[in-house]
């Protein structure tokens, strides 16, 4: 992982070099998938979108429209746009049932049920936030990115991200209260 050289990766990517593309995938797929999965709350959709992000990367490179310097930034930004498109389409349809596919490595059945219930509540509340609020929470708390990194990916300044983060958390808390009363 530490051997990954982004500049060389970009050069190899432009040549559609298999080894380079494989290493880029290995380096970033999990991160992109985590971001997408945090936001869409559905395994199959998350897999499709994460996979689509990398396909788009190849197409963009072939059209000379790919990333020039920041590969990870390009991937996260593309993932964000793709998720937003997906959510827009989803908003037009009836609300789907939330995924029940949770981690199955809980220590006990009770703990797992409890954990699932809590997680489901947070996911329901999170799903009610605006796309921008969802994005800032996904980047900051899903991905663990710093304020500065988040600001770069969201194309905002740090103060704007701070304010957005505060509003997103306040909205999440509010929605959590509403969801738990439902």
């Amino acid at each position: 992982m530490s051997n990954f050289d982004e500049r060389r990766a970009l050069e190899g990517l432009r040549k559609l070099d298999s080894q380079t593309i494989g290493s880029i995938y290995d380096q970033y797929f999990s991160e992109v998938h985590r971001y997408v999965r945090y936001r869409v709350n559905d395994d199959a959709t998350a897999e499709d979108i994460a996979s689509d992000v990398f396909m788009r990367l190849l197409e963009a490179v072939q059209k000379n429209q790919g990333p020039q310097t920041n590969l990870k930034g390009w991937l996260i930004a593309t993932a964000s746009n793709t998720v937003n498109d997906h959510l827009r389409r989803q908003y037009r349809r009836p609300i789907e049932m939330l995924s029940e596919s949770m981690s199955d490595d809980s220590p006990s059945v009770h703990a797992e049920v409890d954990s699932r219930e809590q997680n489901r509540t947070v996911q329901l509340a999170y799903a009610k936030l605006t796309p921008e609020q969802q994005e800032v929470l996904a980047l900051r708390f899903g991905q663990g990115y710093s304020l500065e990194e988040t600001a770069v990916y969201m194309k905002k300044n740090v103060n704007a991200v701070k304010a957005l983060q505060f509003r997103a958390l306040a909205a999440l808390q509010r929605e959590l209260g509403e969801v738990s009363h439902e």
Partner: protein, 397 residues
């Protein structure tokens, strides 16, 4: 505490939580904000704990293989650099274009319809004129185009009539024949037009019977102040003038035929060539006498007197009072001399040329206007009696 400082404190608290501190410990440093910050920090903990299952190794492997296969296809040129959404995008673009075109068409036709009743000076009037231009432009049949242009000229007169009736002042332009000239007050297509010092006049003198285009300004008192008078060439498109509104004495006007009228030249005293229009009523038509063999209407035959300006023996085109007259098939009685006054019988061709059936020299070739006037008195046209009631007196000076 202002918002920015509040956000700063929140960020510090979040970092502390990130380092492993619990919420109570973090809030202990900010007791005055603890109540407000607690729910926010609790939400952040929940957001961070939201379980996101990692992709299975199978998912990772499968998608990796697909990606590398895709890259290989691209390298081999099997896959064109076209995104999968291009077809959808193209279809969407076509659909949007069609919708825009339909909207433009509908709004356009609505606009044109709304503009159709406007008058000069109205906001939508330019739309009306532009639409007329477009219609003419896309009318390729010459006859249909001519009809259209006459319609538009008629519309100009109709607009002028409405403007004057309403007492509105507006810029107008219209075409027609000069039917009378009394000092600076002229009648053109039956409308009173005042010539001022500022009026731009053509180089050639404008006489009664001349086809002109007037650009000017309507006034509240029912007149048009001319800003510019242009002489129109023979064959120019002119409006149809209704008899009762034109001030013409003749009857049986038709199409674009110039209506030439002698309105007695009262007070004009100038060298304006005066033309007597003895537009023949139907009783004077001589359909059997046509020798031209033309298919053009001969039921609207005209008889008028005029002065011969020029004679072209090669083309058989004479110029009478500025009008081109084709004497190719004419019966000519007398010796053709420039300056002489002739009585001509014939009709107007589609090209505006007067097709002469019969020429009669009613006076010697003096070329003198006075002779012309005196000859006018010789006209045997009953309809011209009123017109010439004072012409003799005015012409003997």
């Amino acid at each position: 505490m202002n918002d920015l400082k509040y956000y700063e404190v929140l960020e510090k608290c979040l970092l502390d939580l990130e380092q492993g501190a619990d919420i109570d410990t973090v809030l202990f440093r900010y007791p005055d904000l603890a109540e407000e910050l607690r729910p926010i920090l609790e939400a952040s903990v929940k957001a961070k704990r939201m379980i996101v299952p990692a992709p299975s190794s199978d998912v990772v492997r499968r998608n990796r293989a697909r990606l590398l296969q895709r890259a290989a296809e691209m390298r081999e040129g099997k896959v064109k650099p076209v995104s999968r959404g291009v077809w959808l995008t193209s279809l969407r673009r076509v659909a949007v274009t069609l919708i825009i075109l339909v909207l433009v068409f509908l709004s356009g036709t609505g606009l044109v319809r709304a503009a159709s009743t406007t008058l000069p000076g109205d906001n939508l009037y330019p739309v009306k004129r532009t639409w007329e231009g477009v219609l003419v432009l896309f009318t390729f049949d010459p006859q249909a185009r001519e009809v259209l242009e006459v319609e538009h000229e008629n519309e100009r007169l109709e607009e002028l009539r409405e403007l004057l009736a309403e007492g509105r002042s507006a810029e107008v332009d219209f075409a027609g024949y000069v039917t009378s000239q009394t000092g600076t007050e002229w009648q053109i297509s039956g409308f009173p037009v005042v010539i001022s010092d500022q009026t731009r006049m053509p180089d050639q003198p404008v006489g009664i019977g001349a086809a002109v285009r007037v650009r000017g300004q309507t006034q509240g008192d029912g007149i048009v102040i001319a800003e510019r008078i242009e002489l129109l060439p023979a064959g120019a498109i002119l409006p149809e003038v209704e008899e009762d509104e034109s001030g013409f004495e003749e009857e049986n006007h038709e199409g674009q035929n110039p209506q030439i009228d002698d309105n007695s030249n009262t007070g004009s005293g100038n060298d304006t060539p005066r033309v007597e229009d003895t537009k023949t009523p139907e009783s004077e038509s001589e359909p059997e006498s046509s020798g031209s063999g033309s298919s053009e209407s001969e039921s609207n035959e005209d008889v008028f007197n005029g002065t011969v300006d020029s004679i072209d023996e090669q083309t058989n085109i004479w110029t009478i009072n500025g009008l081109a007259a084709d004497v190719s098939n004419a019966e000519i009685n007398g010796e053709p001399v420039v300056g002489s006054t002739v009585k001509m019988e014939g009709y107007y061709g589609a090209d505006g040329k007067f097709i002469v059936k019969k020429v009669e020299f009613v006076a010697g070739g003096s070329g003198n206007e006075n002779d012309s006037d005196s000859n006018n008195n010789n006209s045997n046209d009953d309809n011209s009696n009123d017109d010439h009631g004072d012409s003799g007196g005015g012409s003997d000076d």
